[in-house]
């Protein structure tokens, strides 16, 4: 093995890397790159050593040791025993061997050669190894100019040689599709340890038992299984595997191109990967698998996922997602929310409804260069999804997939269990905040929804669930005579969060029929996906029908169609955000003495349907079970997408394609609130209907020309895109009859709002691809868009791209071990248009007042002079593939600049407007992506270890904003912090109030403690950190042995912070474990009567600072200026973003899959082709600094998910389950 050569290649690569240095400025980045390069080098070297340890060539007979014993056996029997334990096979003349019998050999481990020497000693026979054949010859033949026999040469037979009579002998030649013999192809008998490999002419020979299946494997080629079926000669043509050099990928506009020809980075994910350890939003399954792709996800059934590729390039936070194209039809990933006020159920997005079982592949086009032909909408990259078709399926194939998983919360916050509700150590329940018009007196601090009350010592206290003398419960306060409360022990309920959640279940059943013949192919699938969320009564049922068919009308004319219909039903989707109806909100204010199980019976007796039973009416806290079962956010969505494509071959090298496609949905969302809901005491019912349709009509004319050394492809096409959105919402703000949810049942005039939107983009584009001798490829594209959303004077814009792929290994002479060394260069521009109706400022209708109509001008001033956005990107990359594809490395560095961004620029409201739409700003993104694929072990016994590592680092920078503007608040979904774009800084910077710190002196940097004993909080925002990770990585390991496979995927996220609203609020409310810490250090009588001292500096009269906490005995009780326990915690966290930060670094075991492919022989009499079974798990283990929640969370807002904020998000779920796949 030529290690030297490889290291030379690495050095060549390293020489390329310094060129990228200018992309990075900070020393840390340089260091990081060095570490990356060293790591990769080490990985490669390690792999090489492993490679050298497992050669594939046939071994000499003196090296192969076996263990056999012979007891009065014939020579032929001995040969068979040797054959059974080695790759060798014997050839002999029967008449020369049949007389040799009664051989004896004690069981012993010996080389084949030694055994032969023993058993042939005293005979006239001798042996000769030819590849894996052992020729048994008469010694007289030696020296008779006997030439080494050619095992395929019939003259052998003529010479009287026969092959082993007991076993079928199979031989043949293995070639690639061009007829070139393949050397070293491994041939094994399925289910057996015996195998051989082809010689340098591509020939093989192996003896097989009856009904054997031969398995042909060759690195870089698709494995082939062939039943022998009594044949003695089987010639095999191996197809190159998709992951190899001739991989064809689907690029922009659905054009398939050879990957080697591309001058930009793409990464393809096989659909099978997404359909085992399935996430029902398949987007989440891409997480960790593709370098440079970041995904944040809402939790809860069917929630949406936000995708970004190569960082954030738009100042408009919600315009950073890539285009998603399914079979040529763009499909929306924008979640569409109801304007639900302070909380928003996450209703998912259309793309999340794609059935993972129907996905053939997902190709991630990472940059503008890759997606240039898609135009404006793909400026952030594109996911090009191809669904499965019936192509290549002979006859009719039926695939059945079934999965079942259970889900539970991955991590829940850590609560204290020492102190109960109330304040100042006092609590006594009486009316629980609802005096029933004075019927029931107030207790003591009973409307405190915080746990600053008495220690939970089992003392008797009247509580909401204590029985009353009249046989009711304490909080049955709407009853006219509840009776006196009989106090019950004041004890903690450590599991009062855990007990609320239920075990989630997901059932997945999918059946697909597929088939093809010479003129047509089809595939039809039906999938039922049934989920129950971890929040009670949350569920989701999805039924998907997918049909894909192609028909060759004539030799020149083909038609293809794809149609997909998905119906989604849900009784209730989880509500997210800071508001009365979200589960995590309820737990912020859920006192530690509250027993969740007492709330399961959530009506007050005799008032069923009218009045809920709650632990605390005074603060409007709804019973969590009441909310879960009565206040539902349902969904009934029909989604349909599909297209029809006609292709006509005008000439052999001229093809015209026409296609019409549409994506349509109708989403009906009924929202119910029962009588006595704190925010809707008279009940509430709302119906929202959202409609969406995007239609695309396009054509493409393609021309190919072969010249002597040149190959030329040229295409031109056009597209009309039309998109319409609509929403109608009708609200019955109060109900007449309880529990009857229809708009007719409204007690007040029904309020209705409506919104409709329409846009069109017309485009023309052309591209040329040429290559010189398959060594240098050049792609040039140009596209012009005309958009309806821009002012007439600026509505046409053109953007070009060029990229080149240079196959250095074909240009320079290199070791044959290097199969590919490719250099990529790409440059592209992209334009982008505005949202519809961004030119004129509307006046919005206001609610009627006594029947009087009114209008108010929008707070956002639109702009009649908008120009298209413009972004340009450059990327450079290199790919290496070596050792029969056992080692692959792909490195990309890129730089993207986005200018003239169309964005709503926040303006001071003192100007009369809160924002104005402008063209402004320049954002640059620079980064590096590395992918490494290796097969460190591939043993002859069938054991294989595949390793895939990807790494990405992106640094974005705000180059400029509008004139006079040096900061833009992009999003601020909760608490005081906001995501700001500031000139000269990274995108994703988080700003908010923090500690005022001692400026200098010995206490420099400590928080300043003010005269009220609280840490001083800055009046202006300080920099808190960046919400985006410094780098991300994914590591996939796959081990396979015979039918077994074990795959694991680790996701690694390094750096980044997020602001947690839950931690802040629950800390201030005395619920979290930490808040018991200081209290428990105090003597029981002193808990609420003595002061607590925060460490920090106190300003002295001479201007110096003295340490506030002076005695460090952990009791927080000796110092200068103190405060009560509540303020000690609450005022340390509240309005202090710095204290609410959580480190986002984590390592997560995202997926584990243990699979088994049942051997064919187990079901050979059944009409089944294959059965596989797997145990799967997702989000199994999380390593991260905080012990409260998974930092990979996001805030759900009306417009979509916002990273960097935890805003009462549901816990991430961990899932376990099993999958069964049967192919008939």
């Amino acid at each position: 093995m030529n290690l030297y050569l490889i290291s030379e290649e690495i050095q060549k690569l390293n020489k390329l890397l310094p060129k990228q240095k200018h992309f990075f400025e900070k020393q840390t980045i340089k260091d990081l790159m060095r570490i990356g390069v060293v790591t990769i080098t080490l990985l490669i070297l390690t792999s090489l050593q492993l490679l050298t340890a497992s050669p594939l060539r046939s071994q000499p007979i003196d090296k192969v040791e076996i263990k056999i014993a012979l007891h009065n056996e014939t020579l032929v029997q001995a040969f068979q025993k040797i054959e059974g334990q080695s790759p060798f096979h014997f050839m002999y003349r029967s008449n020369e061997v049949k007389s040799i019998r009664n051989l004896n050999l004690p069981e012993n481990k010996k080389s084949v050669e030694d055994i032969l020497k023993i058993i042939l000693s005293g005979t006239a026979l001798t042996y000769q190894q030819v590849n894996n054949e052992i020729l048994i010859m008469h010694s007289k033949d030696i020296g008779n100019n006997f030439t080494l026999p050619d095992i395929n040469n019939l003259s052998l037979k003529e010479a009287g040689y026969t092959i082993s009579p007991e076993a079928t002998r199979v031989h043949g030649i293995v070639t690639d599709i061009n007829g070139k013999p393949l050397v070293g192809v491994s041939i094994t008998i399925k289910g057996e340890a015996i195998g051989t490999s082809t010689d340098k002419s591509g020939n093989y020979s192996i003896s097989v038992p009856d009904a054997a299946i031969l398995v042909f494997t060759y690195v870089g080629y698709t494995m082939k299984e062939i039943a022998v079926d009594g044949r003695s000669q089987i010639n095999v043509v191996m197809q190159e595997a998709t992951s190899s050099l001739n991989e064809v990928v689907v690029t922009a506009l659905g054009i398939s191109q050879k990957k080697v020809s591309l001058g930009y980075a793409t990464q393809q994910v096989d659909g099978a990967t997404l359909n085992v350890a399935r996430d029902n939003n398949f987007v989440n399954s891409l997480s960790g698998r593709v370098a440079g792709v970041n995904i944040i996800s809402g939790n809860g059934v069917g929630s949406s996922a936000r995708i970004t590729i190569r960082g954030e390039s738009s100042l408009n936070y919600f315009k950073n997602q890539p285009l998603v194209v399914i079979d040529g039809v763009p499909v929306s990933n924008d979640p569409v929310s109801n304007d639900g006020g302070d909380t928003n159920p996450d209703y998912g997005s259309s793309i999340g409804e794609l059935n993972p079982a129907d996905i053939e592949s997902v190709n991630v086009l990472k940059g503008a260069a890759a997606s240039a032909l898609y135009g404006s909408r793909a400026a952030n990259g594109a996911l090009v999804i191809t669904t499965k078709s019936g192509k290549g399926v002979k006859g009719m194939g039926v695939t059945f997939t079934s999965g079942y998983t259970i889900e539970n919360p991955l991590r829940l916050p850590k609560f204290q269990n020492s102190f109960g509700g109330g304040t100042d150590g006092q609590y006594e329940g009486s009316n629980f905040g609802y005096s029933n018009n004075g019927l029931y007196p107030d207790g003591i601090n009973e409307d405190w929804d915080e746990s600053w009350g008495p220690a939970l010592n089992g003392q008797l206290i009247a509580q909401f669930d204590s029985p009353t003398k009249n046989g009711f419960r304490g909080a049955d306060v709407n009853l006219p005579d509840r009776g006196d409360i009989i106090p019950t022990p004041f004890i903690p309920h450590p599991n009062n969060m855990k007990d609320f959640f239920v075990t989630g279940h997901t059932r997945f059943n999918s059946v697909a029929l597929a088939g093809s013949n010479k003129t047509s192919n089809y595939r039809f699938s039906y999938t039922n996906n049934d989920e129950l969320g971890i929040v009670p009564n949350n569920n989701l049922t999805r039924n998907s029908f997918n049909f894909n068919a192609g028909y060759k009308l004539t030799d020149r004319f083909t038609a293809q169609t794809v149609a997909n219909y998905t119906k989604t039903n849900s009784t209730s989707r989880p509500d997210l955000g800071y508001g009365h109806e979200t589960p995590m909100y309820e737990y912020v204010w859920f006192d530690r003495n509250v027993d969740i199980n007492s709330l399961r019976n959530y009506w007050q007796p005799g008032l069923e349907g009218l009045q809920q039973f709650s632990q605390d009416y005074g603060n409007g806290h709804d019973n969590p079970f009441f909310v879960a079962y009565q206040n539902t956010a349902g969904q009934n969505k029909d989604q349909l997408y599909g297209n029809v494509k006609l292709t006509y071959k005008i000439l052999d090298n001229l093809t015209l394609m026409g296609r019409a496609g549409t994506d349509y949905f109708n989403d009906f969302r009924p929202r119910r609130r029962a009588m006595s809901t704190s925010t809707a005491p008279q009940g509430f019912y709302q119906e929202t209907t959202l409609t969406y349709q995007e239609s695309n009509y396009d054509f493409l004319l393609s021309y190919q020309k072969e010249l002597k050394d040149f190959h030329l492809d040229a295409s031109a096409g056009g597209n009309i895109m039309e998109r319409k959105r609509g929403s109608q919402q009708s609200t019955a703000g109060e109900l007449v009859i309880p529990n009857l949810y229809t708009l007719n049942n409204s007690n007040v005039p029904i309020q209705t709002t409506e919104y409709n939107e329409q846009r069109r983009t017309n485009s023309l584009y052309a591209f040329v691809q040429g290559d010189y001798q398959g060594k240098v490829y050049v792609n040039i594209t140009g596209r012009n868009d005309w958009s309806s959303t821009l002012p007439a004077s600026n509505n046409s814009y053109f953007y070009p791209s060029i990229n080149t792929s240079i196959l250095l290994n074909k240009i320079f002479t290199m070791s044959p071990k290097i199969e590919l060394l490719k250099l990529r260069l790409a440059y592209a521009q992209a334009g982008n248009d505005a949202d519809p109706y961004s030119i004129l400022t509307p006046y919005n209708y206001q609610p009627l007042w006594n029947g009087i109509p009114s209008l108010a001008e929008s707070s956002q001033l639109n702009n009649a002079n908008l120009k298209p956005e413009k972004s340009s990107s450059t990327e450079i990359g290199a790919e290496v593939s070596a050792f029969h594809g056992r080692l692959g490395l792909d490195v990309t560095a890129y730089s993207t600049n986005s200018k003239n961004q169309i964005l709503p620029l926040p303006t001071p409201v003192s100007s009369g407007y809160r924002g104005r739409v402008i063209n402004a700003g320049e954002i640059s993104n620079k980064g590096i992506e590395v992918q490494l694929n290796a097969v460190p072990i591939r043993s002859k016994s069938g054991f294989e270890w595949n390793l895939m590592v990807n790494f990405a680092r992106n640094i974005s920078k705000v180059v400029s904003l509008a004139p006079g503007v040096d900061a833009i608040v992009q999003e601020a979904p909760g608490e005081d912090a906001s995501i700001e774009a500031r000139v000269g800084e990274r995108m994703g910077a988080l700003y908010g109030p923090g500690f005022v710190r001692v400026p200098d002196g010995p206490l420099k940097g400590m928080p300043i403690i003010g005269s009220n004993g609280r840490a001083q909080i800055t009046s202006t925002s300080i920099y808190l950190g960046n919400i985006d990770p410094d780098w991300t990585a994914g590591i996939t390991n796959r081990f396979s042995f015979k039918g077994f496979s074990l795959e694991s995927l680790f996701g690694i996220n390094y750096g980044g912070v997020l602001v947690s609203r839950f931690i802040n609020k629950a800390m201030g409310a005395g619920q979290l474990l930490e808040t018991a810490g200081a209290r428990l250090k105090h003597a029981p009588d002193d808990v609420y009567n003595t002061d607590y001292y925060r460490d920090g500096g106190v300003l002295q009269s001479d201007g110096s600072y003295a340490r506030n906490l002076q005695i460090f005995d952990g009791s927080y009780s000796k110092g200068l200026i103190g405060t009560g326990p509540r303020d000690f915690y609450k005022r340390y966290y509240d309005h202090n973003s710095e204290q609410q930060l959580v480190n986002r670094s984590f390592v997560k075991l995202r997926e584990v899959e243990l699979g088994y492919q049942f051997p064919k022989r187990m079901y050979e009499h059944l009409p089944i082709q294959s059965i596989s079974f797997s145990l799967v798990g997702r989000n199994l283990i999380l390593w991260t600094k905080n012990d409260q929640f998974d930092p990979e969370t996001a805030a759900s807002t009306g417009q979509g998910l916002v990273g960097g904020f935890e805003n009462l998000s549901l816990p991430t779920t961990r899932s376990f389950g099993a999958n069964l796949n049967i192919i008939f």
């Binding site: 304040t423 100042d424 006092q426 905040g433 005096s435 018009n437 107030d442 003591i444 601090n445 603060n619 005008i650 000439l651 054509f699 004319l701 056009g718 703000g733 109060e734 007040v748 005039p749 409709n756 329409q758 069109r760 017309n762 485009s763 023309l764 005309w786 309806s788 959303t789 509505n795 046409s796 519809p836 109706y837 509307p842 006046y843 009627l848 007042w849 006594n850 009114s854 209008l855 108010a856 001008e857 001033l861 926040p906 303006t907 001071p908 409201v909 003192s910 100007s911 009369g912 407007y913 104005r916 503007v965 040096d966 608040v969 109030p993 609280r1014 909080i1017 009046s1019 009560g1124 309005h1135």
Partner: protein, 519 residues
């Protein structure tokens, strides 16, 4: 199919594509909302409703504490709720959202020559700026609300002094326009389309401004002369003649058009303040039953007890006076649906911008101080102001108790708060001719009358120190009772240069820096 046909269809497609931009205008026409308004009556209602709802609602929160009517341990810490991120909503900087349409109304009516509507726009403009500048001090004014008209998205700050002078002029101009206009004021949900009442409002606001700057040395307005002109020329400068005239928005019982706190009450943490309790009890004022609920312990008994809580005592509020059973919650007319679903009223509380009482008590002070001559005597203005306020409060209790059977008596009734004749003759109320003492009595009564307008109550305290009991307590982040509030965060972030420049003029952006009329 042959190749010619294909080439033709491509040519056709190209033509189709490039030709298609011509109906882009139609496609990009917003079908949801008009982009132009040509009639004032479509702008006026939302300006009034949105601004008054906002004002009436916010008056119940921080304003009621800083005016010392109510106590709230969290609010009177003067920290969390008093930061740049909360003052925009809490102290009505978001009036700019309505000023946008006030400006539209002004431009539109001016173009159309609709003097009455233009006058209305000037009155609303002046009222909103008066409220804001009193809370914040210097602020954008002359360049404000010019994003659309002048492309100015970074308005410079004006000194409060100059804002005051300009508001005086605007109100004067409004009065003039409204006295000569002939255009109808349609959809006027505040003043019923009466140009006269708008003039009364304008002139009353002028009096409010004049009194507020009456102690400023070196003011460029002759306060006395201006007051004289107004008082002595009632034909040119009409003033509210009774409660019927005052600027009060009556809420409706339609969903979401109720009194704004009906659904989102400041309940629980707000209690009668000790300062308010002390002053009401000192005068044996029966309206304590109007301003607060009996303590829960005494509720429903024949001896309702009213007990306040001091501000600025932090968490010890919860155990103060034996806990919440002995602390009075806020006024029955503010009682929200949640607490008293059978009896809560959607319309008992009004949105009060300027009352007849306030105007009369302004005149009483002006006359007492000899700022102007003519008009009525001090006692008349004073008694008008007090009695009008009693009758107003009684009338609102009548609204509250409408439809509640007498047998189901839960809240105070109007008859409970009718003053005994001795109320007016007691030393704490009757004027004696001692200017210092009389002024204090006038101002205390005005403070009572400004109960709905916590912001105004606070302004009066800042100017006069009445009530004298209002002072900072042990559990506050600042060393004195607030004198102003910090500018909203948006000014720091998106109007930074002007914000910073203003700090050089007015002083640090904190709660202790005094505004111009309060130096």
């Amino acid at each position: 199919m042959n190749s010619k046909l294909f080439i033709r269809s491509i040519a056709f497609a190209l033509l189709l594509l490039t030709g298609c931009t011509k109906n882009f205008d139609t496609i990009n026409q917003n079908p949801n909302s008009p982009q132009q308004v040509e009639n004032e009556q479509f702008l006026l209602p939302s300006i009034i409703v949105n601004s008054v709802r906002n004002y009436a609602y916010k008056s119940q929160f921080e304003a009621s504490v800083v005016g010392d009517y109510y106590a709230n341990q969290y609010v009177s810490g003067f920290d969390n709720d008093w930061t740049a991120s909360t003052t925009e909503g809490g102290f009505l900087w978001n009036f700019f959202d309505q000023l946008r349409d006030v400006q539209n109304l002004r431009v539109l009516s001016h173009q159309k020559g609709d003097k009455n509507n233009e006058g209305v726009s000037l009155v609303l403009w002046s009222w909103m700026f008066q409220v804001m500048t009193d809370n914040f001090g210097d602020m954008p004014y002359s360049q404000a609300v010019q994003g659309k008209t002048a492309g100015n998205f970074a308005p410079a700050y004006d000194k409060q002094e100059d804002i005051y002078y300009s508001l005086m002029d605007s109100l004067k101009e409004a009065n003039t326009l409204l006295s000569s206009g002939t255009d109808p004021i349609n959809s006027d949900v505040l003043m019923g389309g009466s140009a006269m009442r708008w003039r009364e409002f304008a002139n009353g606001l002028r009096l409010r401004l004049l009194l507020r700057m009456s102690d400023v040395t070196g003011a460029k307005v002759d306060v006395g002369a201006e007051m004289n002109t107004i008082v002595n020329d009632p034909t040119t400068y009409p003033l509210f003649a009774s409660n019927d005239d005052q600027a009060a928005l009556e809420f409706t019982d339609e969903l979401n058009n109720e009194f704004p706190a009906y659904h989102n009450p400041p309940i629980g943490d707000y209690h009668l303040s000790t300062t308010f309790e002390t002053n009401l009890k000192a005068l044996n004022d029966p309206r304590i039953a109007f301003f607060a609920m009996p303590t829960p312990a005494s509720y429903g008994t024949n001896n309702p007890v009213y007990a306040g809580v001091p501000n600025c005592i932090g968490t010890s509020e919860s155990s103060y006076n034996g806990g919440s059973n002995n602390q009075s919650q806020e006024s029955p007319i503010l009682m929200p649906y949640l607490g008293y679903p059978l009896y809560a009223s959607k319309t008992a509380a009004q949105g009060l911008l300027l009352t007849y009482s306030e105007v009369q008590l302004i005149l009483a002070e002006g006359k007492e101080r000899g700022l102007f001559s003519g008009g009525e005597d001090v006692a008349t203005y004073y008694m008008n102001g007090i009695q009008a306020q009693f009758s107003y409060d009684e009338s609102r209790l009548d609204v509250l108790n409408q439809g509640i059977p007498a047998s189901d008596h839960h809240f105070a009734k109007s008859s409970d708060i009718v003053p005994d004749p001795s109320y007016f003759t007691q030393p704490g109320v009757a004027l004696t001719g001692n200017q210092v003492g009389d002024l204090y009595k006038i101002r205390i009564q005005k403070w009572f009358a400004l109960f709905y307008n916590g912001f105004e109550g606070w302004s009066q305290w800042r100017r006069t120190g009445v009530p004298k009991e209002t002072m900072i307590g042990p559990s506050s982040a600042i060393t004195e009772w607030p004198r102003r509030v910090p500018y909203p965060l948006s000014e720091q972030t998106v109007n930074k240069a002007n914000y910073n420049a203003s700090l050089q003029v007015q002083g640090p952006d904190n709660m202790l820096t005094r505004v111009w009329w309060n130096k």
